[in-house]
Every structure is written in structure tokens, then in C-alpha cells.
């Protein structure tokens, strides 16, 4: 079976459903207003997306209580959430569900799937899928102690999957954030729509989910990095669309600015970049759904190496072509820019992914 880079009808239906909910419930001005409030995340929206559309446990196999779809479908959801810079605990959920799937654990899948129990994974958000795994958390007498920085969606998480090293090796544990011995310190994020924080564990109660955390973490990071590429495509597409719309309405020198070739050519190049990003992102999602492990790793590295930079370019071009209004707080471009730039650092920078590609396809350095 060769790689399918298109969208299936089922995927398009899923996209429409997600887009409809986001159009009604996640207007960008409300996202902006929410950023400055005490509740930067919209958990009611998340419960709708999870409970009614099933996006949270979408890619978890049915035998574990999930939706039984693949990463291809999950990636389509990510595109839509990226278009809307939706402030929901999506990425943490992707990490957690991919980890639970890799571990073969059905443990809190039902609640995650319903959107009632937010779960994330305690890995630093900048960790690349191929990075060495050496958790800072220790298992001591059955409880966990240690600190993990840059844990995504931590503020709203009810449970955290924690890789921790003890006498029996590195296992994956689950911790309830309401328990004593669990401390959470939020960090003020560059990306106002995606929150993270520091997890401090001091003798926290934990339950073992997987005896060997390493393959589980690798798979979770790889899946999340592939899904992130799709989110980046959605963000880039929105940046392009909204900019095209703007240059059609803004007049300078007696003409629509979209009639100037200097502007048209930049947007044409951006469109080409988005088309290319879409192909690489589809390739990654397809490889994660059905391909072999080596192919999936290369496809994700390629997707991240391309889509991360392209999303930043799209947001930056969008800001530039909006002129002065693009520099204001009230215009939402900065939300997209913050998301794009942060996503570029997330799960490894493009440079890290290129280095991984060099290993995978035998193009050694000096």
C-alpha cells in the first residue's frame, strides 16, 4: 500500500464537524479575551470536542476504549485546532493517549475520551522524539520525587503520566494532580493559547502504567510531533487565508494592496509553501497510521523540519502584510505568531530534526 497523501471522505466529514463547533464556540476574539482571564483554556469547549465529536481518544484502539481511528484522522482535527489557535488541552491529550496506547493500557481512557479528565505526559515540551530519555523523577518506596519542566497543559491536568527511574529501571507512572506531594507552577507562555508549567513531585503517590517507559515515550513523542506538523499546517493555512482576505480590502496608493505584485508574489510563495507543508504533514500522518517504525520516524522528522519553519514564516508574513494593525494587541495575529514560534521549538527544532534525518538516511556530518 503506497502512501495516501489526500484526505478521505471520512476525514473531510470529521473536519467539517470540528470546524463547525470551532466556528460557533471558538471565535478568535474570544480566544484573545480568554488569554487575559483566569481561565485561559476553554474546558467546556474541550468537553464538547471530546464528548460529542470524540477527538480526545480518537486514535486510541477500540479494544482500549478509544475511537479506533488513526493518526491520519487525528491530524485533520489538529489542522482545525491550529486554524483556530483553540485554547484546549489537545497536545497533552495526544501525548497521554499515544503513551497509554503504546503501553496497552486502558486505564483512564474512558474519562479522557469524555473530556472529563484531562491527562498529560510529563516530558519537557522541547524534547525531540529521538532525544535520550533520562527522567529526573525517581521512584522511592513506591512514591515519586523530582521535577519536570515545561509540561504541556499541566495547569488543567487532572492526571499526569510520569516517567520515573527506580531500582527496576525507568517505568511510566500515573499521578493524580489533586494528591499531596504534587506541585504545579505555571510559566507565563510566549504562546498564550498553549499553557505549560513545572511539575514538582515530593513523595507523590503513583501507580505503574508501563514497566519500560522508553518505547512508550518514543512513540508518544513521535505521534505528537507528527500531529503537531498538521496543527502547523492548519495555522499556516489560516495565516495565508486571513492575509489574502485582508489585502483584498486594504487600499493604499488608490489600489487594493493585493494588486501589487510585490504582495502577490509573497502570497503565491506562501501558498506554495503551505501546499508543500500539507504534503509532508499528510505523509507523516499516513506513516504514523500504517507505516513501519523507521518510515514513520523519517516522515515525522521531515514533516517537522518543514512545517515548523513554514508555520513561522506564514505567521510572520501575515503580520508584515497586515502592516501596522498586525503589530497591535487587538488583532489576533500575535496569537498565531506566538503559537507558530513556540511550536517551532516544540518536540525539537527543525535543526534537530534535520540532524535526525542525517542519521536515518546516512548523510553523516564531519
Amino acid at each position: 500500500m503506497s502512501t495516501d497523501l489526500l484526505y478521505t471522505e471520512v476525514e473531510e466529514d470529521l473536519r467539517s464537524a470540528v470546524r463547525r463547533v470551532l466556528r460557533d464556540r471558538c471565535e478568535v476574539s474570544s480566544v484573545l479575551a480568554r488569554c487575559e482571564s483566569d481561565e485561559p483554556y476553554d474546558l467546556a469547549l474541550w468537553r464538547t470536542l471530546a464528548g460529542e465529536l470524540g477527538v480526545a481518544a480518537l486514535a486510541v484502539p477500540e479494544e482500549l476504549g478509544g475511537g479506533g481511528a488513526g493518526v491520519r484522522e487525528l491530524a485533520v482535527v489538529a489542522e482545525e485546532l491550529g486554524r483556530a489557535v483553540a485554547p484546549v488541552p489537545f497536545l497533552g491529550t495526544v501525548l497521554a493517549t499515544a503513551a497509554l496506547t503504546a503501553a496497552g493500557s486502558a486505564d483512564p481512557i474512558a474519562e479522557i475520551g469524555a473530556g472529563t479528565l484531562v491527562t498529560t505526559l510529563a516530558v519537557g515540551l522541547t524534547t525531540a522524539p529521538s532525544a535520550p530519555i533520562s527522567p529526573a523523577v525517581r521512584v522511592e518506596g513506591g512514591t515519586l520525587t523530582g521535577t519536570v519542566t515545561a509540561v504541556v497543559d499541566l495547569e488543567v491536568a487532572d492526571r499526569v503520566l510520569v516517567p520515573a527511574t527506580g531500582p527496576d529501571g525507568t517505568g511510566l507512572y500515573i499521578v493524580d494532580t489533586a494528591d499531596s506531594g504534587v506541585g504545579r507552577t505555571p510559566v507565563t507562555p510566549l504562546d498564550l493559547t498553549r499553557r505549560f508549567g513545572t511539575l514538582d513531585l515530593t513523595g507523590a503517590q503513583a501507580r505503574l502504567v508501563a514497566a519500560d517507559a522508553t518505547p512508550v515515550l518514543r512513540r508518544a513523542l513521535l505521534t505528537a510531533a507528527g500531529v503537531l506538523a498538521a496543527e502547523q499546517v492548519g495555522l499556516a493555512q489560516h495565516s495565508l487565508d486571513s492575509t489574502v482576505e485582508y489585502v483584498q480590502t486594504r487600499y493604499q496608493f488608490g489600489r487594493r494592496i493585493g494588486s501589487f505584485q510585490a504582495v502577490k508574489h509573497r502570497l503565491a510563495d506562501l501558498w506554495s509553501g503551505v501546499s508543500t507543508a500539507r504534503a509532508t504533514s499528510r505523509n507523516a500522518a499516513d506513516a504514523l497510521t500504517g507505516g513501519d517504525a523507521g518510515e514513520a520516524e523519517l516522515a515525522v522528522a521531515l514533516g517537522q523540519a518543514y512545517c515548523s519553519d513554514l508555520a513561522v514564516l506564514a505567521a510572520e508574513e501575515s503580520l508584515q502584510l497586515h502592516g501596522g494593525i498586525g503589530m497591535t494587541w487587538e488583532h489576533p495575529i500575535h496569537l498565531y505568531l506566538g503559537r507558530a514560534k513556540s511550536a517551532q521549538l516544540t518536540f525539537g527544532t527543525p535543526e534537530r530534526h534535520r540532524a535526525r534525518i542525517a542519521e536515518l538516511v546516512d548523510l553523516p556530518g564531519v
Partner: protein, 392 residues
């Protein structure tokens, strides 16, 4: 509806009756007559009205049997541009006359579109076609004509009405390249080779029966032809590291001496872009296969041009002293453009044409901006003015 299994069976039946090791031309003619040439063409014209993507099934079956192919690279203009145009705009007589020897390669085709004064602005062309009884008399100069020195036929756009605005006064013809009033001169390029030609049409008489489409409809016919050209450019299923990036990647692996930290990152960036562009082309073909052609062809061509130029320049830098030399400046007439089979210096120089031929990158950006993104068209001062009054 024809499916893959039916086609495989048809090829097997055909091979049982025709020896793939026998006379090449006879084999190809028989393959055409059996409707196994281009399966999406109509029955009787080399095809069987099957979906276009099933062609790969047929080609693979013939290749597996060791059968000769019709050397598509020797007649790229014929197969990629002339044939679909004849199919769409030709009369029954024209289709019956031209398509079979075109497909078998017995008759090579070229195209007479561009002129010294009309490249990107093709509709400005000045070659005149004047009606004289049942004939047209054609006078003018064309340029950048590949295959002209081998061609039996050309597709030709000429101005049949200078009083009409430039897009409306054109007509489209099939021109006999062996006519003594057609003069083909090699055009030497920066590579030293004469891959293309200049063609002088010195009062060539073309019977009206060799007109394709209506008088004055030449622009629409030409646009159909050029659409097919873009599809052809986006075509061809290629594997990882095909093309220029493969050449440089192999050099990198084979010779540790060329490796530096800066070059490593440049190589990896180019590798990523090449692979991403390849996947974009693959996605485009998948869209075509399900009948929803996307405009990605323009994006692929833009990216391909830029990459080929960057990678071929990077290669010379990697090679150091060897990059200073050039294989051979002799004026030659190459059959095809083959980057991977040629020398680094040639690759560098030839790649410069990629962003000009088949639509300049600047024009392609306008096409994307206007047709895909819906941005305002360029301001046109020439649209409704009679062609003869336009400044030239």
C-alpha cells in the same frame, strides 16, 4: 468501466500474439491498434476510454515482459502537448492522420509558440498567417524550439487577424517541418550545446485542413496545450533522492573530504526541501488520479526550479577545484535533458533555464496569486487594443 485486472489480461493476450523481441515498430503499431497505447484515449485512437491512472498498470506489464517502449523522452512535445490538443480540438480526419505515428514515434513533433518578442507574453506573437485560397501563408520567426531538427510536424500559433485584440486574432495550425520554406537553425546556449532551435517560417503554405480549432480560436487552443504541459511537468512518479539531490547526496556519502559543518546543514536543508517537493508532486498526481486536479503543479515547478538551481550551485562549491572545470564546450545536439547523467558544470548552467522554460517563476507566481488566491489581476493596457496598434 475498465479496471486494472481487465487491462492486465488484455496485455497478456496481446503478448501471447506479439513477440516483444520482434520488430520494434511493428510491435508498437500493434499495441496502438489494440488500444493499449494510452488507455484513456478513445477506442480506435490507441486507447479504450479507461481512467488515465491505469496507464501505469499497462506500462508496468509491458516493461515486465521486456517489451520496447515508444521512447517517450524522444517525443515529449508530441506526447505531452500535441496529442491531447489534437484529441480535443482536432477533426476526425486529423486525429486519424496524426495520432498513431505520433504515439509510435515515427513522427516527432515540436511546438512553434515562443518568439523573440513574445515569451511570457505569448499572445503578443507576430508570426503572420495570411489566408490564400485553401492555404495559409505563414511568415515569421520562432525560438526555443526543442526537437525542431528532428520533427516531422509542429504545432504552431500564428496571427491570422492583426486588427483584432491580441488574444483574439490568433489561429492554431499543424505545420510540416520538412517544408523547404521552414528553416531550422541550431540555437547555441550557455551550456555550449544546441538543445533548442530558431525556426524561420519563410512563406510556408499550410493547407486549411491542418488548422486545429476555429479561426481566431488559437489562444484557447494554445492554453489547452499549455495546461497539458504543466500536467506533464508535474508528472512522473519518482522515488526518494531522485534528481539532483540524489547526485549530491551520493557525492557526500562517497567522499568524506567534501564534508564541512556548514555544508552539512545546507545539504540537509536542501534534502528536506527536495523530499518535501517530491511529496507535493506525489500528492498532485494522486489528486489527478481521483479526478480533482489541484493547482499544486505551479508550486512544484516553482520549487523544483529553485532547488535545482541551488543544489547544482552547491554541488560546484562542494567539489572545489573540480568545480572549476567544464567537461566539453563542443556544440552538441542532445536528445534529452538529463541532469543526473551529466557533469556538474553543465548541471549548474542548464538549471538556470528551469525558472524560465515552461513559464517563468514570475509568471507562475502571478498565476497562483490570481487564479488560486483570487487576488486582483495585473493592470492590463493591451487587452482591448488592436494588436497592430500595440507598442513593440
Amino acid at each position: 468501466m475498465t479496471d486494472a485486472a481487465e487491462l492486465r489480461a488484455a496485455v497478456r493476450d496481446f503478448l501471447a500474439e506479439h513477440d516483444p523481441g520482434g520488430d520494434r515498430l511493428e510491435f508498437l503499431r500493434a499495441r496502438f491498434d489494440a488500444g493499449l497505447a494510452w488507455v484513456n484515449y478513445p477506442a480506435g485512437l490507441g486507447g479504450r476510454d479507461a481512467p488515465r491512472e491505469l496507464q501505469t498498470v499497462v506500462d508496468a506489464e509491458f516493461a515486465a515482459a521486456g517489451a520496447p517502449d515508444n521512447a517517450p523522452s524522444r517525443n515529449g512535445i508530441g506526447l505531452g502537448m500535441a496529442a491531447p490538443t489534437i484529441l480535443r480540438f482536432g477533426t476526425d480526419e486529423q486525429r486519424a492522420r496524426y495520432l498513431r505515428p505520433l504515439w509510435t514515434g515515427e513522427e516527432i513533433w515540436c511546438q512553434l509558440f515562443s518568439e523573440p518578442g513574445a515569451g511570457s507574453d505569448l499572445a503578443a506573437l507576430a508570426t503572420r498567417a495570411v489566408r490564400d485560397g485553401d492555404d495559409w501563408v505563414v511568415e515569421g520567426q520562432k525560438v526555443w524550439t526543442s526537437f525542431a531538427h528532428k520533427a516531422k510536424w509542429a504545432i504552431l500559433v500564428a496571427r491570422s487577424d492583426p486588427d483584432a485584440p491580441k488574444h483574439k486574432g490568433l489561429s492554431y495550425f499543424v505545420c510540416d517541418m520538412t517544408d523547404p520554406n521552414v528553416e531550422v537553425r541550431p540555437l547555441r546556449q550557455i551550456t555550449g550545446e544546441a538543445e533548442f532551435n530558431e525556426v524561420f517560417l519563410n512563406g510556408v503554405r499550410i493547407p486549411d485542413s491542418q488548422r486545429l480549432g476555429e479561426i481566431g480560436q488559437g489562444w484557447q487552443v494554445a492554453m489547452g496545450t499549455l495546461m497539458n504541459e504543466r500536467v506533464a511537468i508535474g508528472g512522473g512518479n519518482t522515488g526518494r533522492e531522485s534528481g539532483m539531490i540524489g547526485v549530491v547526496a551520493r557525492e557526500w556519502r562517497d567522499d568524506p573530504e567534501v564534508r564541512t559543518p556548514g555544508a552539512h546543514d545546507r545539504l540537509l536543508r536542501l534534502w528536506v526541501e527536495a523530499e518535501a517537493t517530491r511529496l507535493t508532486g506525489q500528492r498532485l498526481r494522486q489528486q489527478l488520479a481521483v479526478g480533482t486536479p489541484g493547482p499544486e503543479g505551479s508550486a512544484v515547478k516553482l520549487a523544483f526550479s529553485r532547488l535545482n538551481q541551488e543544489i547544482s550551485g552547491f554541488e560546484l562549491e562542494l567539489l572545489g577545484e573540480q568545480g572549476l572545470s567544464y567537461e566539453d564546450w563542443t556544440q552538441r545536439r542532445p536528445e534529452t535533458v538529463d541532469f543526473t547523467g551529466r557533469d556538474p558544470g553543465y548541471r549548474y548552467l542548464r538549471a538556470k533555464g528551469n525558472s524560465i522554460e515552461g513559464g517563468t517563476s514570475e509568471v507562475l507566481r502571478n498565476v497562483i496569486a490570481e487564479r488560486v488566491l483570487g487576488l486582483p489581476p495585473e493592470i492590463r493596457t493591451d487587452k482591448d487594443v488592436p494588436w497592430k496598434e500595440l507598442p513593440r
